[in-house]
Amino acid sequence: MFRIDRTLIRNFDWLIFFTVIAISLIGILTIFSATRQPMESTQSPFYIKQIIWLLLGVLGLIVFVSFDYIWLSRISVPMYIAGLIFLLIVLISGKTGMGAQRWIGVGPISFQPSEFFKLIFIIMISRHFSSVQEPIGIMSLLRIFFVFVFLPFMLLVKQPDLGTGLVIIIIFIALSLTRGLQKKALILTVIIGFVSMPFLGNLMWERLEDYQKSRLIAFVEPGVDPSGIGYHIKQSKVAIGSGEFSGKGFLKGTQGPFRFLPEKHTDFIFAVFAEEWGFIGSLFLLSLYFLLIMRGLDTARKAKDDFGKILALGITFMFSIYFFVNVGMTLGIMPVVGIPLPFFSYGGTALLSNYISLGVLINIRTRRFALFY
């Protein structure tokens, strides 16, 4: 099952690999800058932890490139069940952070099962979409939805991890549309979507934690609470805008280290970067992400089978959604949903799971020729 040979190395997608490594290294520099404030008392600095997680991530990537991705399809059911169990464990005995239970502790390490669940979810959906006839009919769609989307969605919302919950729904919809739906299924999806929107909205509103509610309110009415979430959006825009064309320079940013920015090394790290590197730097960073996403789509196009195609697409969608929502949030054109910038924000579990997902993506591209074995 695990084989690394010369063919594998020759076909390895070095372009996407180095693109993402570049993103992560810039991310570490930015974490260093954002958390450099002397008054902060941390046991070991964030950037050191992030470097360790990056090394682990690259290791994870190598592991997930080394075997044929078809195995993922074969072990998808037990993985999926294990994933659901982990989500349940979080609900029962999870650590609380930011008013939400997302973490479970394994020895000294605590991690977020929902981070890994996203990949498991994409694998599961890919397996089922590739096995049903396309365009997908109403019944198959509903079955897949209820068994593989609705159930984990409810578990995630209960944590509550609204961000991840919404991401899996969006991935599901995007994959369905790209895969192709029968006319009836498409119309039904649209109608149900519209009809259930207010109902779902209300249901979700009831389930929201206060901090989630305030985020949504602040997005709609930024003037309501200037020192709450609206304040965060404002300070984020101040940080990015004050970078002007060429930025204030590395370690010269003030919005992040002086705590004007919330979540400066996680959700709002793009603002810290844009303050120090300006429009030019932001343009460069966005180009790297553009390269990553385009390469992901290209991988999907060139995949040798439907499973690989849908899997590559799902992973690319996941990166894209995170990227657009996060950057859009810091720019004040998306609601503040607490999701990180992939490969860039501080956060061990997310970095590891993203590198594993990238590994799967590279795996699909590396084995794109049907006659590989």
């Binding site: 404030q37 790209t178 006319k183 004007f260 343009l283 966005l286 553009f290 720019l331």
Partner: protein
């Protein structure tokens, strides 16, 4: 609509959507960073920097002999940073500071704007409280000891009207560009020397520019401009004289101004009752303020400059000088006083009912004969009296640099026509010539007039700062000998057996002076006889103006006692006490310098 089967084309569509997404992000970045970049850069700078004004130590005020009258006392304040303070410590803290715990928790919870703005819990901690807090510092995170400086007036009420006090910037002053460099909660001079020499005393406040974080905590000092201490001021006041003056006024309402005749320097400035500036200097409580302002005898009124009353017989000096100068009388001219003067159907009484008999100028001044001056005044006419009164600084501001000075009033025919729209009556001239009727003056004007008589006729602007170049406002051109005649008579007022000012006679120096009694209108008819029986509010006002020593005056002063009765009995002893205190002190000083030499 037939959904197309082949995936790749849809992926291309997805690619286009992604490209559009990137274009939106780039446009937004362009908008924030390029179009609005300047604006956001400015906001981020103001986010980051905090400018703190550091008030300069205020200059010290000394008396003319170098005795400090004020001091800047550092004191300790217990303050709390609410964001770092543990609420469960309130009880323990309340015990240490001896403040109810509700008061502490109330103060902490009021300030909502930033949890890192310090809240002052208790000012002026005792040494014991400071040491207890310092020893238990780790038990009270978020509790800090701040240092502030208070302005203490060492002599309390003594000289309060001259020295003044500090107060918070008023809303009006906050608008004034003169104070724009000061912190909003700064204390500045609001009265007396503290107010009128505030700029000198204030110094230049320094500035500290800190880099702060979003919680308002100071991270690093970027720039520091140290404050420049305010200049010290040496007043012309003699605090010993001032103390003696205020002691003499105990229980009385009135004012005293003592001047150095050759310079115009103010040696003493009493306004009684006085107030304690220490109550103002560090923020007066509302209760204290209303208590002071509602007092019937108005302690905040600076009577030396602001009370204007008829000068009574002290004004006879002006009438006498005018008559000598105009050639109406000489030292030998005699008038007969039988106790009254008839003019038409009116009777004008002399204060001495049985009359003074035949008197010359000297006797008329010494015994303060009213009829003599009725007669002389009638011959002079009001406009001549007006002319000379004005030359001696009456009826106009003396120009002292302490605010709120009143002008008093010297009437003339034109004035009456302009304000009363009525012709002048001779009867009004008659009472004006003895300082009654419309005539009114302030104590400081009378002291300036007294100075001019002893210094050869120069009117100096009264100054409160020692050693300044004297400011002559005018030199009165008089016949040689006129002032000598007056001075000689004034010495007689005190020294001669029949003089009205015998109560001022001193064993240690020769004093010259003139008594004055200003009638309270309408009182005379009802209450005759023993002045002690008259209720205080109908009692006459007492004046005494004086100089000493007789040979060469070193001090000229005016004493005014509201409802004090007769000038000779109430005001003259005060003048004597103050003059003696001054002369004794001078003698002692000269002695000690002799020993040193």
């Amino acid at each position: 609509m037939q959904i197309e089967k082949d995936g790749p084309d849809r992926i291309v569509v997805v690619g286009y959507i992604i490209v559009i997404g990137f274009i939106i992000l780039l446009l937004r970045l362009w908008q924030l960073q390029i179009l609005q970049g300047d604006e956001f850069r400015r906001i981020s700078e103001s986010n980051r920097l905090r400018v703190i004004n550091v008030q300069a130590p205020r200059g010290i005020i000394f008396d003319r002999n170098g005795i400090p009258l004020v001091k800047n006392t550092p004191y300790f304040i217990a303050s709390v940073i609410p964001g770092e303070f543990d609420g469960s410590n309130v009880e323990a803290l309340s015990k240490i500071l001896d403040i109810p715990s509700e008061e502490i928790s109330g103060k902490i919870s009021i300030k909502k704007q930033s949890p890192f703005t310090t809240v002052r819990i208790k000012k002026r901690l005792s040494f014991r409280e400071v040491s207890v807090i310092e020893a238990r510092r780790t038990d009270f995170p978020g509790l800090i000891i701040e240092i502030a400086v208070s302005r203490d007036y060492i002599y309390g009420k003594t000289g309060a009207h001259a020295i003044g006090y500090l107060g918070k910037l008023t809303p009006g002053q906050l608008e004034n560009p003169e104070y724009k460099d000061l912190p909003r909660h700064a204390f500045i001079g609001q009265w007396g020397v503290e107010k009128y020499f505030d700029k000198t005393l204030r110094g230049i406040s320094g500035q500290k520019i800190f880099e702060v974080d979003a919680l308002g905590r100071e991270i690093r000092l970027i720039q520091e401009k140290p404050p420049v201490k305010g200049d010290d001021i040496t007043l012309s006041l003699d605090i010993e004289l001032q103390k003696e003056g205020e002691k003499s006024f105990e229980g009385l309402t009135g004012a005293l101004v003592a001047l150095q005749p050759e310079t115009g320097e103010i040696l003493g400035l009493v306004s009684s009752p006085s107030f304690d500036p220490n109550k103002f200097a560090n923020g007066i409580s509302y209760a204290d303020w209303t208590a002071i302002t509602r007092q019937k005898n108005m302690p905040m009124l600076n009577r030396a400059l602001q009370s204007q009353y008829p000068p009574g017989s002290t004004f006879k000096i002006i009438t006498a000088i005018a008559a000598l100068e105009e050639g109406i009388i000489d030292t030998t001219t005699k008038k007969y006083c039988n106790g009254r003067m008839n003019y038409g159907k009116w009777n004008y009484n002399c204060w001495k009912k049985k009359g003074h008999g035949s008197v010359n100028l000297h006797r008329a001044l010494v015994e303060s004969c009213d009829v003599y001056f009725y007669e002389v005044g009638r011959q002079l006419g009001i406009d001549k009296i007006y002319e000379y009164a004005l030359k001696f600084g009456l009826g106009r501001e003396t120009g002292i640099l302490l605010g709120g000075e009143r002008k008093g009033l010297i009437p003339n025919t034109r004035w009456k026509m302009a304000t009363k729209n009525a012709p002048w009556f001779l009867g009004e001239t008659i009472i004006s010539s003895i300082g009654q009727g419309y005539v009114s003056t302030t104590p400081i004007q009378m002291a300036v007039m007294m100075s001019a008589i002893t210094n050869g006729g120069t009117i100096y602007r009264p100054v409160i700062i020692k050693g300044m170049k004297p400011v002559p406002l005018g030199k009165i051109d008089l016949k040689p000998g006129t002032l000598e005649i007056i001075r000689d008579s004034l010495l007689g007022v005190v020294e001669e057996p029949d003089g009205t000012g015998q109560a001022a006679k001193s064993a240690i120096t020769t004093i010259g002076g003139k008594t004055g009694t200003a009638q309270v209108v309408g009182a005379r008819q009802q209450y005759s006889g023993n002045s002690k029986k008259i209720p205080e509010k109908y009692r006459d006002h007492a004046w005494f103006i004086a100089f000493a020593p007789g040979e060469k005056a070193e001090i000229a002063l005016s004493v005014f006692v509201e409802h004090g009765g007769h000038g000779g009995s109430t005001a003259a002893p005060i003048a004597k006490r103050v003059i003696e205190a001054y002369m004794l002190r001078k003698a002692k000083q000269e002695e000690s310098t002799d020993v040193q030499n």
